[in-house]
Amino acid sequence: MTLPDRIGGVVLLTLGVAVVIASLGLPAIPGQPVGPAIFPSVLGVALGLSGLIIFVKPERQPAQETQQLEALSVIGTLRLLSPVAVLILGYLIMESLGFLVTGFLIVLVISLLLRGSVVGSLLLSAVMTVVIYTIFASLLRVPLPAGILSLPW
């Protein structure tokens, strides 16, 4: 199966071309021969070329890998992307709900997705959130968003 490399090649080629076009629009430094455009332009060309080579000469994936790729169902894909989704949701609610609530939810969701027991996951989420809050907010003085809940220390 060569499909992943074909797609990867096209993506890289497109990205390379887009970078070159975008770089050409960058302003030059007045009176200087080179500016902020040169480095990304070179990179864009190199990226596009390597994308082209990968597209034209894709490598064959071992059969085992192919099976794995196909075995990834809709639910599997959702599971795979869940850490990314959880982080982005966390980013959206962190400001208003604060670190303690958000952190608790992040740990809880991931624990449950990885088949932790309900009681265990609840317990872990509570303990870990408080421990990490203590280390970062109290000891290292990181201004974690307080939101609706804060600890006495």
């Binding site: 990314v84 980013y91 997705l113």
Partner: protein, 496 residues
Amino acid sequence: MENIILSLQTVATLEVMMVIVLSSAYGMLVGCIPGLSATMATALLVPITFYLSPVAAIASIISASAMAIFSGDIPGTLLRIPGTPASAAYMEEANAFTRRGEPETALGTGLWFSALGGIFGTVILVLVAPLLASIALQFSSYEYFWLGCLGLLCATLVSNGPPIKAFAALMFGLLVSTVGMNNAAGVPRFTFGSYELYSGIDVVSALVGVFAVAEVMRAMTAPDTPAASRRRFGSILGKQWALTLRYKKQMLRGNLVGVMIGALPGAGADMAAWVAYATSKRFSRTPEKFGTGHSEGLVEASSANNSALAGGWVPSLLFGIPGDTITAIAIGVLYMKGLNPGPTLFTENAASLYSLYWVFLIANIIMVPLGLLMIRSTTYVLSVPRWTIMSTVLLCSAVGAYAVSNSLFSIVVVAAFGAIGYALDKYGYSVAAFVLGLVMGPMVEQNLVTSLIKSGGDVTPFFTRPTSAVLACLTIAALLAPSLLRLLRKHRRVAV
């Protein structure tokens, strides 16, 4: 001499000592847990180093990574699952000892030769670095540009996958580093109108994403690891002295291979272990015993992976070119702490540099007692269920990135780079090359633009300055090497 005393004073403080012990314990734990690598241990440590003194910050990275590389041997030996990729090379061999009922011998070998390898690597670092520094002092932006390119291309040559994919990953990493206003003209590049991207993509957040979040993603689809059976170990270090005497040649060869591979940009402890194990088998008088619980290869590979760690610091400290993914992260910390890598570090900041040597020595010495403790308590660590670890790792990634940048947007960066890191690894694009590009991009670009401005847009000085010319030839050779090799092979096949 004065520096030696001064540096001892900076190291022998309560803060640094506590940091060394705590990060060592942390490294031991992380290394022992399958799925958590030494690089990831380092990435998650960076937010904490932000709040430490410069020497303590580097000390924490040195000790945590050294311990993690050793302790990766433990699950490899007991469960046939490498704790870190650096232990994968000789996992079968070490596990054969367990099947024979002598896991303590294999674990002891891992511990003893890791500590010795680390010390050997440190000695080489101490001896070689000043020599190279005196050469590097004569370099100007032209030479640094080529050196940067050469380092980056090395990373594509030594990667596991196809070179063209590593090259693409490298270019992509460099490209990511150009985002923001951090360029000669101070204009926003590739920010897509987002103000958050004006200051560029925070390297620490990106690295945490690539190494930690991607690992949580992998855990989502991988089956659970089996629990280790509880066992009591016999004497762990008992046989090691005899082994040292019997295999001293293998040990030294492993150390040397380790340091050299460690110093190559992009190749780190895992590559060193593979090469050393293969070398050992190749030159052994009894290659047929390999894989059946034979100490020889184990000695050589264990010696190599820890000395590679110190080797990785040579180009990092001298040129700001990371020798492996761990030092790629460490370079960021060096800049953050005002210990900018480069030959001037050896003249202006000699005392800080000497304290790093001390930390290396101390870390590799306390590795032995801590390692013994770790081995004896392994069964407890390995019975911690994976869901507790991975969910905690994800929260630490988010908080860590926020702590460094003080911006909630960095959580999005962490998430995005988690997905990017996962995809790169999954489809065979070298993650190490990508990370190297990301870290070195600003240095390469700055040297390129400065050089061109100095010469008025003329490219000839890149090739006419003597050192520059040599480096240019090497770079072009490195660029063409894969294609030339392929041509040569094809030619030979036709001839046959």
